[in-house]
């Protein structure tokens, strides 16, 4: 059952005479305020304050408690989160808390530091003009209230586990004995925080969903105290059926991705048809384009043919004039362009163009000028010769490269054959050899990585050298690049080779790179990926009440605290101690965990001598009993005797306030 804030504007303020005290339970998590004598507080809200800035006007506003989120959208909450006035269980920010003409009874923590008490009194007197104030301890009010209800005896122990702290306070004759009380700084806050951290570490992808409020709800709803942590956890470790029943699962809102993996037959057929049609259209377009191109080329060819034929008919003398009109320089040029057009025609007609071979065959004819000495040539021819020489050398180079490639191919083939032979000869040994090689290589890579990280560290430590920042970066970058390339090269080469031969081989995963808890991206997300499963967490988090060392708080747990409180208790009458343990009252918000009273009883039984009567009782209402106790107390006629006024405060001063002691029994 989560706490519910109840904030409603109260309209009957004027109907109460000014003698009616106001009772405030100023708790770490919730603030409860109401009139003395009533059974329930009037207003309850989370004891936090937020000072957001109004988005348009820029004014800061104090928002007390948790409000409607719809209201908060007008404010910019990014600058200031919610704050509590509490440091541990002591109020330290008084600004947060602000004319009230009623006596006030307000709760405080046991042994509240005087300065804190002073400030609270100052605040109540000066800013609110309160006529008189009384301070009381919430746990004591809860105890006296339950005592009146007959739940516990006059002598007893109050175990109060609150939001920030837990207390054990012994009671004698209905009065708390603070000399023997004991406090540990573990409370509901720590439980919730621990749970929040654990869950967000377990499900990093749902971190945003795990808000403080939600986790608190989870804690209230599912948290319980194990009777014996070790045996309870064994259940989960052995994956028993009992554990399965105890596991809770929180399904986050999840909408399956639009179904696309199972399209119907028709759908597939339809899609294929569409694809086919599109392909067809493309092919047709390409075909048309090709046809038009062929047509064009053929036309050109015909034109050139016609030109050649015409050229034959023309007289020798008229040839230059004719050529001039056509735009060509010589017959050879026309012929070469005919060849060119022919070639492209063949290409477009997709005929095998054995161009290279032909070119090779024609090398000799193509470079006719190369072998003729220079002195026999005209300047033009000389130019031509140079060109031809260049072309020839490049062609030769190309041929050489081709030859080399062929040779390499041959070599590789040979090597492969050799390997294959070796493999067939003794497959086991071969495999083993490959494996060792792989291991060596991977070790080398690993070492390089290690070296790199270490090297970086030393780099970082000795930056004071003359090397500039940019250069250092460059060196590091270079090193990284080199490592990456070698690693990639080694890995690729090896795994490919080995996989052919050894099907059981799996390349070593790179450690430290994969995140196990992350949702694998390869498969589509399922409902299970949006579940928050709480098994061990259900009792692991509340367990910190009994062993605070789990969260690194070096203090004793609740059961030991009872023992310590008993030890600190000075009037050692045998009867009294037994009386104390036979009425242990559990109160405070964190005492609501199921199993707490049984566990506490078992714990106390271990500490106390054999045969001691032990009775652990849960308070009637662990949350509101403190306020109700205060309310009924303040309603009694003797209450004004316990209050002090502003005059008292100013006359008697701080030291008096330090010794101010409240009597709970009237």
């Amino acid at each position: 059952m989560p706490f519910i804030s109840q904030i409603e504007r109260q309209t009957d303020y004027r109907s109460f005479p000014s003698s009616v005290p106001i009772v405030i339970d100023n708790g770490g998590s919730y603030f409860r305020i109401g009139w003395a004598g009533e059974s329930d507080p009037r207003v309850i809200f989370r004891n936090i304050v937020q000072r957001p800035r109004h988005k348009s006007t820029g004014e800061t506003v104090s928002v007390v408690g948790d409000h409607d989120t719809t209201l908060l959208k007008y404010f910019d909450c990014t600058r200031s989160g919610p704050r509590s006035a509490f440091d541990n269980n002591v109020v330290y920010q008084f600004e947060i808390m602000e004319y009230v003409d009623h006596p006030v009874l307000i709760t405080e923590c046991p042994c509240n530091p005087v300065s804190s008490r002073c400030r609270m009194a100052e605040l109540l007197f000066e800013s609110y003009g309160v006529p008189s104030v009384a301070f009381g301890v919430d746990a004591a009010f809860s105890y006296t209230y339950n005592q009146r209800l007959g739940v516990c005896d006059k002598e007893g122990l109050a175990v109060c586990s609150g939001f920030n702290t837990s207390h054990v306070i012994p009671f004698v004759e209905g009065e708390p004995v603070f000399e023997a009380c004991c406090r540990s700084n573990v409370g509901g806050y720590h439980v919730t925080d621990y749970m929040k951290q654990l869950l967000s570490l377990k499900y990093p992808q749902h971190m945003a969903k795990l808000t403080w409020e939600k986790v608190e709800d989870l804690k209230m709803e599912h948290g319980y105290i194990a009777q014996d942590y070790a045996s309870e956890v064994k259940l989960f470790q052995n994956e028993t059926k009992e554990a399965e029943e105890k596991t809770r699962c929180w399904q986050l809102p999840f909408t399956p991705p639009p179904v696309e993996e199972q399209p119907s037959e028709e759908e597939i057929a339809r899609k294929a048809a569409i694809k086919e049609r599109q392909g067809q259209r493309l092919r047709e377009m390409a075909e048309a384009k090709r046809a038009s191109r062929i047509n064009e080329l053929e036309n050109e060819l015909r034109g050139l043919d016609f030109l050649l034929r015409q050229l034959e008919n023309v007289n020798e003398d008229d040839v230059p004039a004719f050529l001039l009109s056509t735009g060509y320089l010589s017959k050879q040029e026309i012929e070469s362009s005919v060849a060119k057009v022919n070639q492209s025609l063949r290409k477009t007609k997709r005929e095998q163009v054995e161009l290279e071979e032909k070119a090779e065959a024609a090398t000799a004819e193509k470079f006719p000028l190369v072998d003729i000495p220079d002195n026999m040539l005209t300047p033009d021819q000389l130019k031509e010769k140079k060109k031809q020489i260049f072309l020839k050398t490049t062609a030769e180079g190309r041929q050489r490269a081709r030859q080399k490639r062929a040779e390499e191919e041959l070599q590789r083939e040979k090597q492969n054959q050799l390997e294959e032979e070796k493999r067939l000869e003794n497959p086991e040994m071969y495999l083993e050899k490959l494996r060792t090689k792989y291991k060596e290589l991977s070790e080398k890579v690993e070492q390089k990585k290690l070296l790199k990280t270490n090297g970086n560290n030393t780099n970082g430590n000795s930056t004071s050298g003359g090397v500039g920042r940019g250069e250092r970066m460059n060196a590091a970058k270079k090193e990284r690049m080199r490592l990456l390339t070698t690693a990639a090269f080694d890995r690729g080469k090896d795994s490919r080779q080995v996989k052919d031969i050894d099907p059981t081989f799996t390349p070593k995963p790179d450690s430290g790179l994969c995140q196990p808890a992350d949702v694998p991206r390869a498969r589509p997300l399922t409902k299970e990926d949006f579940q928050i499963i709480m098994g061990v967490e259900r009792f692991r988090c509340p367990e910190i009440l009994f062993s605070p060392n789990i969260v690194g708080i070096d203090q004793s747990g609740l059961d030991e605290m009872v023992g310590i409180s008993m030890r600190r208790f000075s009037p050692k009458g045998q009867g009294l101690e037994e009386k104390l343990t036979s009425s242990i009252l559990l109160t405070g918000g964190s005492s609501q965990f199921p199993g707490l009273s049984e566990r506490l009883e078992a714990g106390v039984r271990m500490i106390r001598p054999c045969g001691t009567p032990i009775r652990v009782i849960r308070a009637n209402d662990p949350i509101f009993d403190a306020w109700r106790g205060g309310s009924s107390y303040a309603a009694s006629l003797h209450f004004p005797e316990q209050t002090f006024t502003k005059m008292d405060y100013e006359e008697k001063g701080e030291d008096w306030l330090r010794r101010y002691k409240f009597r709970y029994t009237l």
Binding site: Y92, N112, P113, V233, S511, S547, P548, N549, E560
Partner: protein, 102 residues
């Protein structure tokens, strides 16, 4: 806005934290048998500390010297070793054992 907080004056009021309050109280000047905020605090536990696996919450028999995490079995150990460093630190911070660089 600027008139409200003139230059050189701190914004708002500074409140002492609990530690400062307690230091200012000077509890050492008072008789030790008088209860105060400091001396009602619970002492360290006398029970042997519970060692639980940082990840699963099972009873931890082993301790990884590299990450300083406690773990329950080989399966968890694999996970421990594959955890990125910031996760390791967050797990350690849960029991107040993280390395804090100041």
């Amino acid at each position: 806005m600027y008139e409200k907080y003139p230059k050189g004056q701190s914004r708002g009021r500074h409140w002492k934290h609990l530690k400062q309050i307690l230091q200012a109280e000077n509890y050492q000047n008072y008789p030790p048998d008088e209860p105060n905020y400091m001396n009602i605090e619970a002492p360290p536990s006398m029970h042997p500390p519970k060692r639980i696996c940082d990840i699963t919450g099972y009873e931890a028999q082993y301790y990884d010297p590299r990450t300083k995490l406690r773990y329950a079995n080989a399966e968890v150990f694999k996970l421990v070793r594959s955890l990125p460093d910031d996760y390791v630190q967050r797990y350690l911070a849960l029991r107040n054992a993280a390395v804090v660089l100041k």
